[in-house]
Symmetry: C2
DNA sequence: CTCGTCCATTGAACCGGTTTAGCTGACTTT
DNA sequence: AAAGTCAGCTAAACCGGTTCAATGGACGAG
């Protein structure tokens, strides 16, 4: 018995057939309690742990879940979402004995190929679908690949997969309400790409909240989510005639870049310009002024998504899950507009 | 022939045995050119791709590499290193047909267990060892697990694994030289944890460079690499008697937090305090003042590490690899100290 | 012409599990 | 007492590849 013990070693030691060992180890009915005990202790004594590879082959499961991230490296670098999300996913996977297979691809072209490859190789039993886009082709693809999945947020079309959502519009809405209540009437939104659902959803939430609050001027500038583009958008806004007195950014890196642009232009934040971010990255807390932001719990999101996907793999189709909404956290980068408070 | 085609289908179509198909597909000698061609075209016509699971079982390989990240989620969030590193790794793995299995664990306790689990389950053929620590137990562990690995940087003890290093000390050294040449004589270093080799290596480089440049006062404060702790270290330094006129941070999030602390205390950067970061995250470019930093190419590092590890798996023991050193990039957060230039 | 060599190829064992058909014997049922 | 039921278990097929000993045939050497 060189190498690690196999199921046959356990069977021999317990004096039964290997089929029965398989039954006993997988808690299947039809094994006498006494025999089961004998098998389990034989396995324990030998330090037996089943070969995942053999199990994968015969049970046609990969015991792994897939996450494909298609983002420009530049966006990924500053983004606090994925590390936290993955940490949350892992917290559930480890106990379930599954692993996470990660694929990072540079663009959306390679993305579909990555899904095909992971599925075609039988490497994963299901996918996490993050960063949903309008008419997202991945939903049909993964469905065609006959694998379960969970979407982060609701797609814009009927989907065969359960969704785990966190209402980020609530955070945007309360950011706008906060700014409006401070007296701002010219508020801009630096949005993410319109094709990305969370980008357009936040934009819509912004516009709706602005209207509801009676905000006179509500501009939207679209960006690609990078800090550089956030800076560009901020410059455009500030250089326009009748510039906004507050800007709601759809992520923290852009808000931080926007803060830099304002300061560079000699505009004081928050006295002359209020700024809010999105994601509540740790770094925002330490800026001067510290960044008011919408905090999301990406780790909890990951854990919830993992639970739903695990259930889906076991054939239980769970209902869509709604997580506690993202909350707006006022820190120092928001204040009443200049004219309203300090007429000087 | 329901389901996807198997090697037997190909064999039947080509009129040969499945053993020979296996030979032909794996470019093994002993197959007549004409037969090989017939087999290959049969495979092509059927759209055959070998089952990774079956291959894993019979060839005792996982066709995947493992990366275990043991970091507090708070540190991970702001860190630009891993996303870029992983993107670099992926660029090499995809063509080699391997996948990346990622495990994120919250602390060093779970870390060794994660390595054991990935290896015990036969999920990976090798490991990337990042964030080396003093007397790192993972080296002995992975060696005991009989898996190849590649270390990022040289361990502090003899190691059976090839190392892929990027000289980050060069960047620290030239940051200090830059500051010294501007006239700074009281320079502090906000270091990472001393147990982490890159933390202590950067600290040593700082001290050596400070001495070489004749810097009068060279303080070092140790941190846990989080922005919060970087802020704390900065406060301590600035509140001390005879505070430094320049601070060299060992990562960007801490430098950004330090910048915030200084600005909050009414200290102008760079006029009254110069600041340098480490990692060249995109966001630093957009701050006001933009952050002078040491830029590292984490993506190239990932690609190089992947190549070395792939070679090691194939049994070729490559020499240690040295990447181009990290370079210091002066932006706006460094300037001559106040007393030296603007006596006011 | 015969023997030995070598190349191309086959068949079967093997990797280590899961699954299913079928066997056994004890226990009910009429 | 014969038939039926069922829990407990075994043997073997199976998943889809890799690998290796054995084989058959072509060919050159003697």
């Amino acid at each position: 018995m060189r190498g690690r013990p196999t199921i046959s070693d356990v069977a021999a030691k317990a004096g039964v057939s290997k089929g029965l060992v398989s039954f006993a180890l997988n808690d299947r009915p039809g094994v006498a309690p006494e025999t089961r005990e004998r098998i389990l202790s034989a396995a324990r004594e030998l330090g037996f742990s089943p070969s995942l590879r053999a199990r994968s082959l015969s049970s046609a499961r990969a015991y792994a879940l897939g996450l494909v991230i298609a983002r420009d490296p530049d966006i990924l670098r500053g983004d606090p979402f994925f590390p936290a999300f993955i940490a949350g996913v892992e917290s559930e996977l480890a106990t379930a004995g599954l692993a996470l297979v990660l694929s990072v691809v540079p663009d959306e072209e390679s993305e579909l190929a990555a899904y095909r490859r992971l599925a075609g190789d039988g490497r994963v039993d299901g996918f996490f679908l993050t960063d949903l886009r309008a008419h997202d082709p991945r939903i049909a693809l993964v469905d065609e690949l006959r694998l379960p999945a969970v979407t982060l947020g609701h797609p814009d079309a009927p989907s065969p997969f359960p969704a785990v959502s966190m209402d980020d519009t609530a955070g945007i809405t309360s950011a706008v309400e906060h700014l409006a209540s401070l007296g701002h009437s010219r508020i801009a939104h630096v949005a993410g790409p319109g094709r990305m659902l969370h980008g357009s959803r936040r934009r819509d939430a912004f516009l709706a909240a602005a209207e509801a609050c009676g905000v006179k001027q509500a501009l939207v500038v679209e960006t690609d989510f990078t800090a550089a583009d956030g800076a560009r958008a901020t410059r455009e806004l500030l250089e326009g005639s009748d510039p906004p007195t507050a800007v709601v950014y759809s992520n923290d890196p852009m808000a931080i870049a926007g803060l830099g642009v304002a300061q560079r232009a000699g505009i004081e934040v928050p006295r002359q310009l209020s700024i809010t971010g999105f994601d509540g990255s740790e770094i925002g807390e330490h800026l001067h002024p510290s960044l008011s932001s919408v905090v999301t719990d990406a780790s909890a999101w990951g854990a919830a998504a993992a639970r739903v996907l695990l259930a889906a793999i076991d054939g239980e189709m769970l209902h869509d899950t709604e997580l506690p909404p993202a909350r707006f956290l006022a820190r120092e980068s928001t204040a009443p507009p200049e004219t309203a408070t300090s007429p000087h």
